[in-house]
């Protein structure tokens, strides 16, 4: 089972990323597959390559459009996907999010491996993976770099530690968070893309003009399940703002403090004067 998140691409923030009132203009940022979740998907697909009959399930939580990353994962080799989606999840912090995901994971049990990217680029917290593992009640291996060996009973992984690397073995079920230095995800598979290009959630089907009834009956794997709060049996009090112990007290749009700064051009004289000033001020030399 692979946990993935659709995130705004915070690495390519342009001028329109912030609104005049200082809030984030999500519409101006493209939504992408969180980069380290792609490393996680690749890790899971490598396990599938080596274990007969292994199945890779992709699980995400987000708005309806997050189904895009489930399809993307399927094009690359995932077997099927689930989307946890409900307005009641809005405002959830990492604890409330991990509560919701853990319920979905338990609903999909039994499973052997829960694989997630180390962290998402919109928050960089690296919390949801371990928090989910704790709630599901399984051990975790964080910062996986490489799959060394895997069989029906256990898995051996090389992982990053603060001052080096470590080789660890664990028996199932367990959680793994995958580091961005692990192998990149394989590209879309053309054959696979043709097979699953019609994968849709129920809400997406309602907006399609074409009639999918026959196709969905013949190919149930194309149906991306959507789960609401009720579907996963969640306690609403533990979700959204009420279920989130962390609150945002203040948000400050980044404004640099103006400081007296000298503007220079790039003429020989200006650069030489600068270097002399730095040397005289004992900054260099």
């Amino acid at each position: 089972m692979v946990l993935a998140k659709q995130v705004p691409d915070t690495r390519n923030v342009g001028k329109d990323a912030m609104k005049a009132d200082g809030t984030v203009n999500r519409a101006a940022l493209p939504a992408i597959f969180n980069p380290e979740d792609l490393n996680a998907l690749e890790f899971a697909l490598k396990v599938k390559d080596r274990i007969k009959d292994a199945e890779v399930i992709i699980l995400t939580m987000g708005p309806a459009r997050a189904a895009e990353i489930i399809r993307e994962a399927m094009y690359r080799g995932a077997d099927k996907g689930y989307l946890i989606t409900d307005r009641k999840f809005a405002g959830s912090d990492t604890l409330a999010t991990s509560y919701a995901i853990s319920l979905a994971v338990k609903k999909l049990a039994p499973f052997n491996l829960l694989v997630a990217g180390r962290q998402a680029i919109d928050g960089d917290t690296a919390q949801v993976g371990p928090q989910t593992a704790e709630k599901v009640g399984i051990p975790q291996i964080a910062y996986a770099l490489e799959l060394l060996a895997v069989n029906e009973k256990e898995i051996t992984i090389k992982r990053r530690i603060e001052r080096g690397v470590e080789t660890v073995t664990g028996t199932y079920p367990l959680a793994v968070t995958v580091h961005g230095s692990a192998d990149d995800c394989r590209p879309r598979n053309a054959k696979r893309l043709m097979q699953v290009k019609h994968a849709r959630t129920v809400s997406e089907l309602q907006t399609e003009t074409r009639d999918y009834t026959e196709l969905m009956t013949a190919r149930p794997d194309l149906k991306i399940q959507e789960w609401s709060v009720a579907d996963i049996g969640a306690d609403v009090e533990q979700l959204g703002l009420s279920g989130s112990p962390t609150k945002v007290k203040a948000i400050e749009n980044v404004v640099f403090q103006a400081k007296e700064s000298k503007s220079l051009g790039s003429s020989d004289k200006e650069i030489e004067d600068l270097m002399i000033e730095l040397i005289d001020g004992h900054m260099i030399g």
Binding site: L95, D124, A126, G137, T169, Q257, S261, I279, I284
Partner: protein, 340 residues
């Protein structure tokens, strides 16, 4: 009860890690302001005398869990010990290093205790909060301040209802300072007998390979850093030449690292290292707060950018508008000419 707790990480040689010493210092400041005590948590094996490294930070109680099962670190075993101690002691604040281990075990504990956790804080201060909607006032909360959303905003996070308030902080963000060389506290031993389930010990370590850190940009007085605007790995060589001439190190922004121009170990910023050199030369760096959070305390900042309006220029003491391919060779030339 209600004290400030610091999880002390150990180095490979079983000494208190730098990041934890920095947090002990910060913890003491916060505790003094709150009028409470600082307690330290040390978990490992063969820890005889470790408390002597901790007391000088003004620590009153060192909780010591010493057992062969606790070293080397595994998140399962450490999480069990930490969860048990924190449940029993009910601190108001618990601080962890934002290290591989701290970020492995921290979220598990927050999840088990159902309390809030804020990662990678760049500042921690005590303050009040008024919830107008609920008509409630909270005194002396921990403001956990961190850049968010790719560094485009700075968020102040609070946990009004749950304790402990847990935060992680990267190495180098806080300053370490001995409180009193002769300060004496007490040691409380925590017995681990029978507390572990099979699952807590399910991950077995087969092999560990410690790699000495290759670069030490943190310790450098002069840093020449490049961003996405440097454009290529080849252009980074120019930065290396300037750094070499000035006796400094090369740093990089996240965008430059992500683009493969420089290795991650040279990354400066919220998700890299925090530096405070005497001189920071920012080349082709626009100045996202995620980056500036890691270098804004530099004594002097020079920016070289083709864009005269790059945000970093507002932070710079000298903002040079020009191409770094031209400016850097000139800097090297005129440095050599004028240095004594």
């Amino acid at each position: 009860m209600n004290n400030v707790f610091i999880y002390c990480e150990l180095t490979e040689e079983n000494h208190i890690a730098d990041v934890s010493q920095e947090l002990l210092t910060k913890g003491k400041t916060l505790a003094n302001e709150l009028g409470v005590k600082v307690e330290a948590l040390v978990i490992g094996h063969q820890l005889n005398g470790i408390e002597k490294e901790i007391f000088p930070y003004g620590v009153d109680i060192v909780h010591l869990a010493d057992d062969a099962k606790l070293s080397p670190f595994t998140s399962g075993a450490h999480a069990r010990v930490l969860t048990n101690i924190l449940k029993q002691e009910e601190p108001q604040i618990a601080l962890f290093g934002a290290t591989a281990n701290g970020r492995d075990v921290g979220p598990r504990i927050a999840s088990a205790l159902k309390c809030g956790l804020t990662a990678d804080c760049t500042s921690l201060i005590i303050g009040d909060h008024e919830d107008k909607k609920a008509g409630k006032t909270y005194k002396n909360l921990l403001y956990q301040i961190r850049p968010a959303f790719g560094g485009n905003i700075i968020a102040t996070i609070i946990n009004p209802e749950t304790k402990p308030q847990i935060a992680t902080v990267r190495e180098g963000v806080m300053k370490k300072e001995i409180f009193d060389e002769n300060y004496q506290g007490v040691v409380k031993e925590f017995k681990v007998d029978g507390i572990f389930s099979d699952l807590d010990l399910a991950i077995k370590i087969i092999d560990r390979e410690i790699q000495p850190p290759k670069v030490n940009i943190k310790g450098s007085q002069i840093i020449v850093a490049g961003g996405y605007g440097v454009g290529s790995k080849e252009n980074f060589e120019l930065l290396a030449e300037l750094a070499h001439a000035l006796g400094g190190e090369v740093g990089a922004s996240r965008a430059a690292v992500d683009s493969g121009f420089a290795p991650h170990e040279r990354q400066v910023g919220q998700t890299g290292v925090t530096v405070r050199p005497k001189l920071y030369i920012a080349c082709g760096i626009s100045g996202a707060v995620q980056h500036t959070a890691g270098m804004s305390d530099s004594a002097q900042i020079i920016s070289i950018n083709t864009d005269p309006n790059a945000p970093i220029n507002k932070l710079a003491d000298y903002a040079i508008t020009g191409k770094l391919e031209e400016v850097i060779p000139m800097m090297i030339k005129y440095y050599k000419k004028n240095s004594k």
